[in-house]
Homo-oligomer: 501 residues x 2
């Protein structure tokens, strides 16, 4: 390898070390840190992120990129070297527009709003968070302004999370989806409601955690390169390809939360664990976009974890862990319960059919906030009105309304939500392609074997890390661009059968 | 406050943020990290430590110190500003002798030897660790060589940990102590052995941890600014004055390990939690020396935690947690059991009387290693021979011999052990001074009240952080320099009574 490539990688590793350390500080903040630690933690994370930004935007990186661009001009597009240069150039161009002090200011502010949210959410106190959120909105607009020429201020945020997309292209997909989802929700609403009361019996925490861990171990999450801890708002996080952690929360009175949450986070984590080892400590060593990342969490959570095939294997083991709770419940009834469709208040607990309406609500609200057509002060009312319009429900309080998600209190306003629905759409597209390549996959799932599926995902998605864009991955792996057709077909087939449509 | 002082503090806070982040990475490595994370973790800690060193040794810090020295020339010695400048100047002079690459090399090497030790110790495999340890010795000599003019290569290491001391001064104290300890050990050996079999009944882990945490909460360890986790080799660590954590390990077949270990680490942690808030994120925000730090852990562990007064309060609660194990054991018998004197293999489990012989052994061996009079290859034999000579025991294997302590595998060879015995000596000196200032302290301990004692320690030791040296603290708090007299008087009185000498 030429010396300049080595020099670039050495600099990238230093940046990655600082960023990974800040992620560990964040993981600790959300899992173990005592309350007293919050103030210093905010300062420490801001320092690490500022230094990572300073190191990455160093002129020397730009000079190396200039030299390497010429040196690797003939490298094939799909080569690791060309991929690395492509991604680093894109991120360098983006990062050099942002002053390091702005990075530190944002980090420090977000650390404070996150900390405030953890108590204010519990206290149902939007008013306490409002000034912080207004500052976040100002910073989020400020971020966009470093990228003049955008059509809407949300666009640079979207581009950051889901490279290649913008408010208009997302809006198009969401409109297509909405046109088909709303009638499906209405059709299901006319059918008798499924009974999920069996999921609301008492399920002790320790057994829930043990069962969830056994499941994701079998899916392929590698605990020798990961671990699970409890937190308030579950997430997955990566400190190295060989240290990718998941978190969960347990509701002893509702089985779904930890069980499907654990599969969801394990889906994210298997993506990161599956990146090619050669990409370690470079910008290639990460999922390519929010949407593709979410496609993996949702694929494992829903297309696998909420399928009948899956439970033909796992229901007996689950019954043996919770005999008193489940021995009187048939597989059919359990399957219907975990797939109950009913408009509800909380996004992360929503069923597959109504889930995307929650996402569209958030996307439209953050778009409006950034465009200046909605004030932070009016956000709770706007939230509640939209919930009523789309889902026929009004949250009884902000805790189960506008305060339920960490995103606006743990990062920018803008770019944080569209990936959830893009991920749902892509999860079905990828799963269909995997099944088409390997028809035995459903039968394998029925006997608890996931190697073929995970192998296909690794080969076509995971190992590439960030080398290919979302669109490139989709075309290579599924033969075409993003399409809602496989997703709607999946929903129609599954819920058509469940609800006799 | 003048701008230059603010500028200095800003730079010091950045250094502290990097250092604190590296401590969190180290804490995670020893408590939660999955095995896969080890390689990246080593690189990340090395990067953080190198950057902290680069930032601290920046010429700008030197220029600020030059300017501030003149500006604060009339500040009283005991003022915070004069103290800060004094400590920063000392550490700057030391740090600027060390290249940043050396710091990173050491960090990276130590991370590897630590990781190797965790498996090789369990496998009783000194041979596997020998090459790494030889490299550590080379690096430890290399460190000393950055401070030419030393009398022995261990001196710069000692000065680092216990400012103001060196091999000769430590050797003097150890010789004095040895002359009085050996006859005491011999006198006790002629008496009937205490029976500690009651401590070796089965004590379930969860109850041990809960009891230990209740005890240290009552001593004054603040869990809102700390927490306890399990680890392999317990330690305390600080990420902020308001986030000081302890770790423990539990032996279900030996009550002492977690119980006294928790009090020990809480002693370290209360010192760090008690530093003046104004010192946050500066070099003043830490215990002043290894010896004074250890005096606090040992004071709470032994002079308080192994005293009869303490157990007059806590024995009934302990019995109520472990009724089956302890209801047939009188307080007298329990007190005799936890203070059983008997030569043993493991330093951290040794009784108060023989403990210092373990420390002297290590101090003499690391001194010999650094002086070149002992080769790493001969270390296990030298260890075993000295154990036989001093304690009449030969370890059955290296696991319980030369591999038992993490220090030589988690840091330099040199400077890591003398503080334990200095701490024992000072613990009695400080405790005697506290009692002399507040005669009711023993009666307060008897009813489970520790506020007066902790208040005296905070006032005289904790709040000062690193502002005063060990010698200055001793003279201010006890009226004189380091003396073994209070320690030997304490041991003679306590063990004279216990063993009828």
């Amino acid at each position: 390898m030429p010396d300049k490539m080595l020099e670039l990688k050495k600099r990238l590793a230093e940046v990655d070390d600082l960023a990974s350390a800040s992620y560990l500080l964040g993981w600790d903040q959300q899992t173990h840190m005592p309350p007293g630690g919050a103030e210093a933690r905010g300062r420490q994370m801001a320092t690490l992120q500022r230094l990572a930004h300073e190191k990455f935007t160093d002129d020397a990186v730009g000079h190396l990129l200039d030299d390497l661009r010429a040196e690797y001009v003939d490298s094939p597009y799909a080569s690791d070297e060309a991929g690395l240069l492509r991604v680093v150039e894109r991120e360098y161009a983006r990062a050099t527009r942002i002053p390091s002090d702005f990075v530190a200011e944002v980090s420090s502010h977000i650390s404070a709003t996150f900390s405030a949210w953890t108590t204010a959410r519990a206290a149902n106190d939007f008013a306490a968070l409002r000034p912080g959120l207004e500052k976040t909105l100002e910073l989020s607009r400020g971020y966009a302004d470093y990228f003049p020429g955008y059509a809407e201020p949300i666009d640079p945020h979207i581009d950051n999370a889901d490279f290649g997309m913008n408010a208009v292209s997302i809006g198009d997909i969401f409109a297509q989806l909405r046109a088909q989802l709303v009638p499906l929700v209405q059709a299901i609403a006319e059918r008798p409601l499924a009974d999920d009361s069996v999921l609301r019996r008492r399920y002790p925490e320790a057994e829930q955690i043990a069962f969830g861990e056994a499941v994701v171990r079998q899916l392929g999450y590698d605990f020798s390169r990961g671990r699970q801890d409890k937190t308030f708002h579950p997430f997955a996080t990566k400190f190295s390809i060989n240290d990718v952690r998941i978190t969960t929360r347990v509701n002893e009175n509702f089985l779904n939360e930890a069980l499907f949450g654990t599969m969801h986070e394990a889906g994210h984590a298997m993506y990161e664990q599956g990146v090619a080892a050669a990409y370690e400590a470079t910008p290639l060593a990460s999922g390519t976009s929010a949407g593709v990342h979410e496609s993996q969490s949702r694929l494992w959570e829903n297309l696998v974890g909420r399928s009948r095939n899956f439970w033909e294997h796992f229901y007996a083991p689950l019954q043996s862990v919770f005999p008193a709770q489940l021995n009187d419940v048939s597989l059919d009834n359990f399957y219907a319960a975990i797939n109950k469709v009913q408009p509800s208040l909380i996004r992360v607990e929503a069923d597959e059919v109504t889930y995307n309406l929650h996402v569209m609500l958030r996307f439209d609200l953050e778009r409006a906030l950034l465009n200046g057509t909605l004030a932070v002060a009016d956000l709770p009312d706007a939230w509640n009105a939209r919930m009523q319009a789309d889902l026929g429900l009004t949250p009884p309080d902000d805790r189960d309304g506008v305060l339920q998600d960490v995103h606006w209190f743990g990062g920018f306003i803008g770019g944080a939500f569209q990936g959830y629905t893009l991920g749902n759409v892509m999860s079905a597209q990828f799963f269909a392609a995997a099944q088409s390549a390997h028809p035995p996959i459903p039968d394998q799932i029925r006997v608890g074997s996931f190697d073929t599926l995970r192998g296909w995902l690794t080969e076509n998605i995971y190992r590439h890390g960030k080398k290919f864009s979302t669109d490139e991955l989709l075309r290579q792996a599924t033969g075409g661009p993003l399409s809602i057709a496989p997703y709607m077909a999946y929903l129609r087939e599954k819920y058509g059968e469940l609800y006799g449509l």
